[in-house]
Symmetry: C2
Subunit: 439 residues, 2 copies
């Protein structure tokens, strides 16, 4: 097992042999990087260039990127390249000196949040800010219990690995952690989603209290990415209310749904009508430069901030902040929130139309440009093998996607937000061909 919900493969035993250059690169990786490193696809892709939604391999072949949410404003966006290059040539120090960059950016970032959320701290990765958020919650509440979803992924440090059961392998959930099923919109009636989630969270609260942990926090990815992409809105409020009544806080992990991905709002939690206590963000924040942040209600942050000095060498440095500011510029200038809604809606409609002819597609769901397509067997069961086959067939047709979900059977379609109508046509043409030849 291990990252069962991620489309990886160390078993590239393709029908066609790989070319010698690729084989040699793979051998060098295995020798020097070790077995923790995985490659996508039965035939791994050797990339050399990217622009917008396009990626190019070493042979010059062009791929449609329908997977990468880090290069969210498009691969190698010139405004990001130029902003970073200029700052890199000017100054790059750290937060123990004064610099306008971090202050100006913080103003802009916090302006996208509800008024209650007034402070922000910077790090380099989503793992780091989730690790930090757990500590802030624990300091604020005096409790240790953490509630997550069944197939949560929150990062790779020791502390967040313990709340990331989707990693699998030899990792295990911490004894202070309780997992509840995500709001599975495919197998649960819409009107029952919020109540059922709250009931499960309530049971977890009781269990944590009985165990003496108390409730530190509920932390969820607000579009339930690794759980299988569940995008129904207005699901979280009753559960969050229960957590707060038990003395805990709510952490919205916006590493994936944040920065306009869902098309409906800048942040996934806004779709749920809740104001979190802590908000974590990362991946698309700097379009590939390592920057992440934790925004907070100041009263929740206070006990930690007063008690614990925190310094992150690269966190909030001028260059990564320049990248992040450029991303905000592009989101605004190119109206990518609207684009995510419109183009994502078109893609979902087109996929739903294809699904009508294909009983092996159980569900098409999502929000904006975060779309899940559930692949099922003839008997309606999750079909991991078929989903993998679709992903590999798409790769052979040079369209990059992956899978997610408890059973690894949900196609994960999550392109750069500059995805266009013609990209939708391209995607659906290849997808229709794969469906026609696969089932």
């Amino acid at each position: 097992m291990g990252f069962s919900n991620i489309m990886d493969s160390n078993s590239y035993s393709p029908d066609q042999p790989l070319d010698p250059a690729t084989e040699s690169l793979i051998a060098a990786r295995e020798r020097m990087l070790g077995r923790s490193y995985r490659l996508f696809y039965e035939r791994p892709v050797h990339l050399v260039r990217g622009v917008g939604t396009r990626l190019y391999d070493a042979d010059g072949a062009c791929y449609l990127d329908a997977y990468n949410n880090v290069a969210s404003v498009g691969h190698c966006h010139p405004h990001v390249v130029e902003s970073v290059g200029r700052q890199l040539a000017t100054l790059n120090t750290h937060t123990r000196y004064l610099h306008n960059g971090i202050v100006d950016y913080s103003e802009r970032l916090l302006a996208t949040m509800p008024d209650e959320i007034g402070q922000v701290m910077y790090a380099c990765t989503g793992s780091e800010v989730n690790d930090l958020a757990l500590r802030v919650a624990e300091t604020h509440t005096g409790a240790t219990g953490v509630i997550i979803t069944t197939d949560a992924y929150h990062g790779n440090t020791a502390a967040v690995t313990a709340i990331s059961p989707s990693i699998g392998g030899a990792t295990s959930m911490g004894p202070h952690v309780r997992a509840v099923p995500p709001p599975d919109s495919y197998r649960t009636a819409t009107e029952e989603l919020a109540g059922r989630f709250a009931t499960d969270v309530g049971a977890a609260i009781e269990d944590l209290q009985a165990a003496g942990n108390g409730v530190s926090c509920l932390i969820v990815d607000t579009i339930f990415s690794s759980d299988g992409i569940y995008a129904d809105p207005s699901v979280l409020a009753p559960a969050v209310e229960l957590v707060r009544r038990a003395g805990g806080v709510f952490i919205a992990d916006e590493v994936q749904p944040g920065f306009a991905r869902t098309g409906a709002a800048m942040w996934g939690f806004l779709r749920h009508g809740v104001v979190p206590d802590l908000v974590t963000m990362g991946k698309p924040m700097g379009n590939g430069l390592p920057i992440a942040a934790m925004a907070a209600r100041s009263e929740v942050l206070e006990a930690f901030a007063n008690g614990v000095p925190y310094f992150n060498t690269f966190g909030g440095n001028p260059v990564t902040v320049a990248a992040a500011a450029a991303v905000l510029d592009v989101l605004e200038d190119e109206k990518l929130l609207v684009n995510a809604a419109e183009v994502g809606g078109q893609l979902r409609d087109d996929l739903a139309a294809l699904a009508g002819d294909h009983p092996r597609i159980g569900d098409v769901r999502g929000a904006g440009l975060y779309i899940g397509v559930e692949i099922i067997s003839d008997t309606g069961e999750p079909d991991r093998a078929a989903a993998r086959a679709v992903v590999n067939a798409m790769r052979e047709r040079r369209v990059l996607i992956s899978v997610c979900g408890h059973d690894g059977n949900v196609l994960k379609i999550r392109p750069p937000l500059v995805f266009s109508d013609s990209d939708v046509d391209w995607f659906c043409t290849e997808f229709a061909a794969v469906l026609a030849s696969s089932f």
Copy 2:
């Protein structure tokens, strides 16, 4: 308390008032970033530009940077700027696709290590790789006990905060951690350093075994940065031998001494004649871009790598690796290892000469361009207040340094490795003036 060994100040109550622009920046930081953020100096510095060993503030004043080890090949080095800019405009994805950058860099990096160390994994920060190294050690040994030095600093995640007592504040060492005094070359005879350190580590081993933790690892910064900069060579081998006999591994934290800083070797552990099991590195690796790595003996990494999938979104991505490769280029092209030895030696000699006339300087020590100057009272005790006064007086003369050590009385002099002979003269001229007016 809290980072007592770091020259920070939230108490900027200077004799001269700050200018309004600076006051406004500080107020904005306090409002939006919160109290975990600290600023250097009684009068914080507002930087806008850097080049080589020079930093410039918003008023155009020029500072000599004798502190920043991240911009190790010099602020805004054109080769780094150009390499990063080119890669940023070309491609920036992640390690689940094949890319030459990470493979070529890994070859070069591992070539600087002893043959026993054959694998490497990438992350974004020193905190992340130390967190990872603890997990690798625990998986390999099946034990949980960690031995550190009294004022260790290994980073800011939950797991490494528990082995970083120098952070202070409300943080505390984990129950699985034992701290031993660093090899204090100022208060211990040279010939006793290795034996005394081994004796203390031996006692920690017995204590961890008695507590049922067993010994997972000894982890030290090989120049004992936060402990106060203890640079005597050939100190570690007997302690490492004891740790290995107890089933534990040795982790060399090279985040600060690594990448030629000590002038004697690429890595601090080489000065001690030991081959670590795991080596962590970060800060100067990408000259300010967030990249960090953990190198390993493959047999020590094996159990973790086979059992635990590890993915770090930005870790080892093409852009940060381009920065790291450019840093290696500059280290080689500009012969910065030799420069660190020669210029650092000159600086130590000049400081030692000044110390001869100043009884308040108890010790001048270090290796290469990592130098500690111990400030003591008339009665020979560590003098924290006097050290702070010197650092602030140097800042008023536009030379940037800081402090470290258990008592916060050791001046930390750690400039970019492109420090020149004329920078040494500049530094010593200002330092002599500060000494003359301070004592």
